[in-house]
């Protein structure tokens, strides 16, 4: 059992070992069983994953080498031409990449910090605790079309609540067409993003907090540690698996961000809020540049892998 890895090296050694250990017939069977067990566990997942994620995605890799409108017989093989175009020639892709980075910094830092804070606060025994938890999570359950509508109304320059409130509190001069100006549009969508995404890390952190043994806190209390020291020395380290998940997912989501931008600004004004994923969508489904859109999708995938996988690996290494 302990030397599993050595055993698995190859069948050539088996006779030798069999000579040492009897009975000879059982050992290969047990070994086969041991080798097969993990794969049997993973079989359903692997089948579905290969058939319905890997296969479609790999076929899109082939598409990314073409110039094609998706329907006609007129397909031209352009090699890496689409990638070249994205990296060196496409001003919108450059805006999009910049926006993705801004989005990433804001929507990873703020919802994670806020979610952690709220999770710790709501892990205590407080009156109305369940209500608070549900309320904070509530924006996250809204369907996309609803979020788009609610916030388009809030930001509306003529009847929106944001401008009205600014006027009530005497800050009317800051009233603005939030989503309609290139300076404020991305920031306005980010606020919505924070609103919608904070419940998720909170939920994960709440689950993570349950795994921290009470004795740890008691020991800290006996040592006379204050709130902050306890939080830093016990809560934060114990939440490590959750940090990994929250940050990695936040980063990946930020590279892929599509829904909110698409529904709130449609990438405008003047493409100032395009992200890689909205630009991919425009190309694939509005401009019918299937090849170019597929190439953009691969750029997105590679960037998020480059960002997230090393992080996940280093954090979960055993």
């Amino acid at each position: 059992m302990l030397h599993g890895r050595e055993h698995a090296a190859g069948p050539a050694r088996v006779p030798e070992r069999a000579a040492v250990r009897a009975p000879a017939r059982v050992l290969p069977l047990a070994k086969a069983r041991r080798v097969a067990t993990p794969w049997l566990f993973m079989l359903p997942a692997l089948l579905i994953y290969l058939g319905f994620l890997v296969y479609p995605v790999v076929s899109s890799l082939a598409l990314s080498l073409l110039r094609w409108d998706g329907l006609s017989a007129d397909r031209a093989f352009v090699g890496l031409g689409n990638y070249q175009e994205i990296l060196f020639n496409d001003p919108v892709a450059r805006i999009a990449l910049r926006n993705n980075i801004v989005w990433m910094v804001a929507t990873v830092l703020i919802p994670t910090a806020l979610g952690l804070l709220l999770a710790v606060a709501l892990n205590q025994k407080l009156p109305g605790r369940n209500f608070f938890r549900s309320a904070i999570y509530a924006p996250g359950v809204l369907p996309l079309v609803a979020v788009g509508l609610i916030w388009s109304w809030l930001y509306n320059p003529t009847f929106g609540l944001v401008n009205q409130v600014l006027e009530w509190v005497g800050l009317g001069r800051f009233a603005s067409g939030w989503l309609g100006s290139p300076e404020t549009a991305l920031g306005a969508v980010i606020v919505t993003g924070i609103w919608q995404r904070t419940g998720f890390p909170m939920l994960l952190y709440l689950a993570g907090l349950q795994a921290i043994p009470n004795e740890q806190y008691e020991a800290a209390r006996i040592d006379g540690a204050g709130r902050w020291e306890t939080f830093r020395a016990i809560t934060l380290p114990w939440l490590r698996p959750m940090h990994v998940i929250v940050v990695a997912l936040g980063v990946i989501e930020a590279v892929k961000v599509f829904d909110l931008i698409y529904s709130m600004t449609n990438g405008g004004p003047a493409w100032s809020t395009q992200t890689l994923a909205t630009w991919m969508y425009f190309n694939m489904f509005q401009y019918f540049n299937i090849g170019y859109g597929s190439a953009l999708a691969w750029v997105i995938a590679v960037i998020s892998i480059a960002f997230a996988i090393p992080y996940i690996r280093s954090m979960v290494r055993r």
Binding site: D69, G70, V145, N156, P157, T158, G180, A270
Partner: protein, 427 residues
């Protein structure tokens, strides 16, 4: 203990739901009975319009037992999701028998890739040419060939508040100068002249199209849309200068760029804005919403050009090349575009491409019909330009409004985009 109980409980709930729903919903697509012809019809009508269309489809099945038309509707945010869905279906080898589309470039997307059936034989067989509004057929023709049957001819103009115009003693403008004078009067009276929603670009495009019709005139403008003439010219600069002035003078509701066209109507309904650039469809909406029709009317925007043209575009139904039931589909189309059906189901589209089918008791519709007979029409740019070039058009338009581009730069940038497109087409 509690654990396993709850898990079992959950499964029971799931099982119960599955049990009741399995029979109805879970199966593979219903296999048509042998003698039944099932026609799949993809369209983008939803809400009340969609329901009314369903009534028409049901009536057809009653009149023609054995024919079932299955409506596959993709309503919602404009044309993107619909086109997305239909194209995926066609590309994936499961094309609907019939599908709805617009005119010009949006319809051509299917024609160009040989997905739509040429309908000339059916036009001849059924004599459709004599029944339909010529302008509607022109609007869907691709290189003189008809691939669809027009079922609507939507026309646009400036809807205005009659009460606001009356209170400020404004007559319906007959010249561009009069329109601008009216705007000046309105602004001075504290009413924003025009409300637009810039979110998708096309609502603002209507105003740009109109300015271009004023500055360039019908002939030159048509050539420019065909990319036969340069866009880097004084007429385009003047068009963008108009747009910039209207924005800077706050003749358009401030901050309108990210507002959805739906929401842009709100200041108009509430009397804070005097006009919107909308089509004949607004009539039924005003009536449906329960607003006072006496407060709302429309006029063709004056262009000082001969002929005076208004913006108009068709809806058409195409038959898929891949359909094995093209004859049955054509039979249905023939039934649907007869004057009797078009009058009865007029509100499906709010306009018709069939001659003499406008309901007599619909004052708004009658008025639009008059305009269509008296005036010329021009297509909205987004139905002429390919969607990618249109993306550039919208971006330039946004740039002018935000002030990032001067009118001169805008004209130059449009020409640059047009030139890139010409080259790509030539390739």
């Amino acid at each position: 203990m509690a654990r396993s109980l709850s898990r079992r409980g959950m499964l029971q709930v799931a099982g119960g739901a599955a049990g009741t729903a399995l029979a109805g919903r879970f199966g593979a697509p219903t296999a048509a009975a042998q003698e039944t012809t099932e026609l799949r019809f993809a369209h983008f009508l939803g809400g009340t319009q969609g329901n009314l269309l369903q009534d028409a489809l049901d009536e057809y099945s009653q009149v023609n037992p054995g024919v079932v038309i299955v409506s596959e509707s993709t309503p919602g945010s404009g044309w993107v999701q619909y086109l997305d869905k239909v194209r995926t279906a066609i590309a994936g080898g499961a094309a609907p028998d019939m599908f709805m589309s617009w005119g010009g470039s949006l319809g051509e997307a299917f024609v160009g890739s040989d997905q739509a059936l040429p309908l000339a034989p059916y036009y001849e067989q059924y004599g459709w040419t004599e029944m339909l509004v010529p302008a509607a057929m022109d609007a869907i023709a691709v290189d003189g060939e008809l691939y669809g049957v027009p079922v609507a001819l939507q026309s646009m103009g400036l809807w205005y508040r009659t009460d606001v115009f009356a209170a400020n003693e404004i007559e319906i403008p007959q010249t561009f100068a009069e329109l601008e004078a009216a705007a000046t009067t309105l602004k001075a009276a504290g009413v924003t002249p025009l409300s637009l929603g810039g979110k998708f670009g096309w609502n603002v495009m209507r105003l740009v199209d109109y300015f271009l019709e004023v500055t360039a005139g019908p002939e030159l403008k048509d050539q420019m849309l065909a990319l036969e003439e340069s866009w880097d010219r004084p007429e385009v600069v003047e068009t963008y200068a108009h747009l910039k002035r209207w924005v800077d003078d706050e003749w358009i509701v401030p901050g309108f760029l990210a507002v959805s066209p739906d929401d842009a109507r709100v200041p108009f309904y509430q009397g804070q804005a005097a006009m919107v650039f909308e089509g004949n469809w607004l009539g039924p909406i005003i009536i449906d919403t329960g607003l006072d029709t006496a407060l709302f009317d429309f006029f063709p925007p004056p262009t000082d050009r001969d002929p005076l043209r208004i913006s108009a575009f068709p809806h058409q139904i195409l038959i898929a090349q891949a359909s094995e039931q093209a004859d049955a589909a054509a039979e249905f189309l023939n039934w649907f575009i007869q004057p009797e059906q078009q009058t009865k189901y007029f509100d499906v589209e709010g306009s018709t491409a069939t001659l003499g089918a406008v309901p007599e008791d619909d004052a708004y519709a009658q008025h639009w019909q008059e305009l269509l007979t008296e005036l010329g029409t021009y297509p909205p740019t987004d139905q002429v330009f390919d969607s990618e070039l249109m993306g550039q058009f919208f971006a330039v338009q946004d740039g002018i409004i935000t002030g990032d581009l001067t009118p001169e730069e805008g004209a130059a940038q449009m020409e640059q985009a047009a030139e890139a497109w010409r080259q790509q087409q030539g390739r």
